[in-house]
Symmetry: C2
Subunit: 419 residues, 2 copies
């Protein structure tokens, strides 16, 4: 199922046109469309894996890092996992048509605020074929058309996935133009997408801090920023050792490559001698390199001296920064300066300090006595995750299907005019 449109703008206009009918589909039709997409992806597995081999081959030839190659790779089990994820999204409740507010004016005009699809959702991302399927499915489930720009490294793979998804829509009698790619236009495609105000309603960048920065800076389409996580855990003077150690180790080690893993541990001076040695040892046992200040280095062995650079770094690896602070004020000041406002947690048994931390830390998710790894749409019970918003407009923190909808006011009168 290929398109006849020959420019990025033409493709986006086709998506906009398709959005009209997609937005009016019933819950059942949208669910069926996603199940058909899941089947089509599985049926095209061989073709998708072959296309992916082509991307990988070109990646090796052009010196793509092995980490990126791994993220790019699709084998048959991974394709099956993609299809399974689509079926999970199909099973979620329809986020469209919820009544968000109701009021009747004194003159009898009835107002109802209902959730509606955005219309056209754009996404710019890099070398992650799973995002192609994920964002397209989430967009369709919420009644939106989608325009994708997945980067040249995954171009063949994305094309194969999109072909399968568009074919499934056509077979279901749904306008296949609801799924568009601008990958084949290279950077011009990304540029057109960022300038498509009035055609594309919202743009969700996913990928490196650099990519997100570019999109936020260059886009005239409203952007939902899914940002980096320089995530902090504060060990208060009253932090119990077992909670502190278990949470820090979990937040660092369980999956270091993701944005909700901890990057900096701030330890209250009064608790440093009791907490630093066993926690550093527990981290090092699991292969973590601890970058610490002079106090930390004085309390534990094999600590790499930390510089200001470390406090700003999202390692995304088995590295963690550790800094001893004078008190809670000092910890809060450090967080204000270095946090990316994603997630911060305090380990404490002091209620007043817990309350202060919850009130004063300006991040999407603020925790007391829990691992930062819980900042996740799946963990929050959303069933799916569009991303984790680090901006304050529209959505903040883990985003589910509801965050892919807008609203509109319906007013029903019987001839009323304004006095």
């Amino acid at each position: 199922m290929t398109t006849t449109a020959t420019t990025p703008r033409e493709r986006m206009l086709l998506a906009k046109d398709a959005a009209r009918t997609i937005g009016l589909l019933t819950d059942e039709r949208k669910r069926d469309a996603l199940l058909a997409i899941a089947d089509a992806i599985e049926a095209a597995a061989a073709e998708i894996v072959a296309a992916n081999s082509g991307d990988l081959e070109r990646g090796r030839a052009t010196g793509l890092s092995t980490a990126l190659q791994d993220r790019l790779r699709l084998d048959e089990p991974r394709v099956a996992a993609l299809a399974a994820a689509v079926r999970d999204i199909a099973a979620l409740p329809d986020p469209v048509g919820r009544v968000l507010d109701e009021r009747t004016l004194a003159n009898g005009v009835e107002l109802t605020k209902v959730s509606v699809p955005f219309g056209v959702v754009g996404s710019i991302y890099e070398a992650r074929p799973n995002v192609t399927v994920d964002i397209a499915s989430l967009a369709l489930r919420s009644g939106n058309a989608v325009v994708l720009r997945g980067g040249s490294a995954a171009e063949f793979t994305n094309a194969a996935l999109i072909r399968a998804m568009r074919g499934a829509l056509a077979d279901e009698g749904i306008d296949p133009e609801a799924i568009q790619t601008v990958d084949d236009f290279g950077r011009d495609g990304a540029k057109a997408l960022m300038q498509a105000r009035g055609i594309v309603d919202v743009l969700v960048p996913r990928g490196s801090a650099q990519l997100i920065e570019t999109v936020v800076t260059e886009s005239s389409v409203p952007v939902i920023e899914t940002g980096a996580g320089v995530v902090h855990i504060v060990l208060d003077a009253s932090a119990p050792l077992d909670w502190a150690r278990d949470i820090v180790v979990n937040a660092k080690v369980q999956r270091p490559s993701v944005c909700n893993s901890v990057e900096t541990v701030l330890v209250h001076r009064d608790a440093a001698s009791g907490l630093v040695p066993p926690i550093v040892a527990a981290l090092q046992e699991r292969g973590v390199t601890v970058h610490g200040d002079a106090v930390v280095a004085g309390l534990a062995a094999e600590v790499v001296p930390a510089t200001d650079e470390d406090w700003q770094t999202e390692y995304l690896s088995l590295d963690v920064a550790m800094h001893v602070v004078d008190d809670l004020d000092d910890a809060l000041a450090h967080i204000r300066r270095y946090s990316t406002h994603h997630t911060e947690s305090i380990i404490t048994t002091d209620d007043a300090n817990a309350q202060r931390f919850l009130a004063e830390v300006d991040s999407a998710v603020v925790m007391v006595n829990a691992s930062t790894r819980f900042t996740d749409g799946g963990e929050f019970g959303f069933g799916a995750e569009v991303g984790i918003s680090t901006q304050k407009l529209h959505a903040r923190g883990p985003m589910g299907l509801a965050e892919l909808t807008s609203s509109k006011w319906l007013a029903r009168g019987s001839g009323q005019v304004r006095a």
Copy 2:
């Protein structure tokens, strides 16, 4: 109460710093601060009017239009009205701290999503001193600091208003740096505000389509677009003449200079001969110039021939475009092409057509049998209006205090880690 900061960035950083304490103020303290501001504005009335005379004098010398001069003018009664508006905002309920969502995870972690201030709200507007007081008051009531850029034409007036407001905050023991202006930096101030990502959390432009376009295009700070209104009323085949005439006249004549006034009336062909003559006559009686297509011109006298230009025009004056359409599909297609997605209304007694109109028109407010003039925060019962959003992200339609808040997730655990 003047500031020592000498660059736009320094001023914005002072606002960001002040936002921390403003965001933690109790409901009562915020209310008292606004009442003090209202008193201070009244007390400074003579000074404000004198500053305004200076602006008006310069405006006349530089050829400012009489319409803009009128919008700029402040006399003592208008200053009193500004103070009264601040008191109205003081009386509104606190939008901060509302529980928006609650859930307890299977592992016992308790999640609460609460409304929080944005932090720093920026606004760029033109020659409207009332916006200076309005936006500052709305921002403070919702726990935000504010950075204002009100344009050179109102510079003296805005400076006097801001001096009074900052003085009131200082007298109340509240950080006066919560109210900042970058007016004295000219275009550099506006530029700095649009590029202040990470310092300013949201930017609300208010004014001409040109100004809004510039802000949306150039800003890397998230923007809430309060756009123009090319507002349509559709007169269906079943439209009762009295409703149709009363609503069209009200929507055009009651206050033609505002964005929710009607600009284009679309008349179903089957009803044209019955509706066009009396409605054109009723409009003309009230001084309205009707710009109509050939069918309209054939049914009524003194109709100015309409061109494609008319369908795109937000007249904001006693002018209205009128076009006869073949059917509801034709009306919907016209609206898709020319609407600015602000407000559209259909006059009909046909339930199916009403339902279709509500479902298919993609505007912030979609009405049946009511005047488009109801699209207004005051009319909707919000008590105040930040503006009318024509974008789909974060806020759509009339915005009240709630739309000047973001949210954050609070997570309370007892040592939980992710499995």
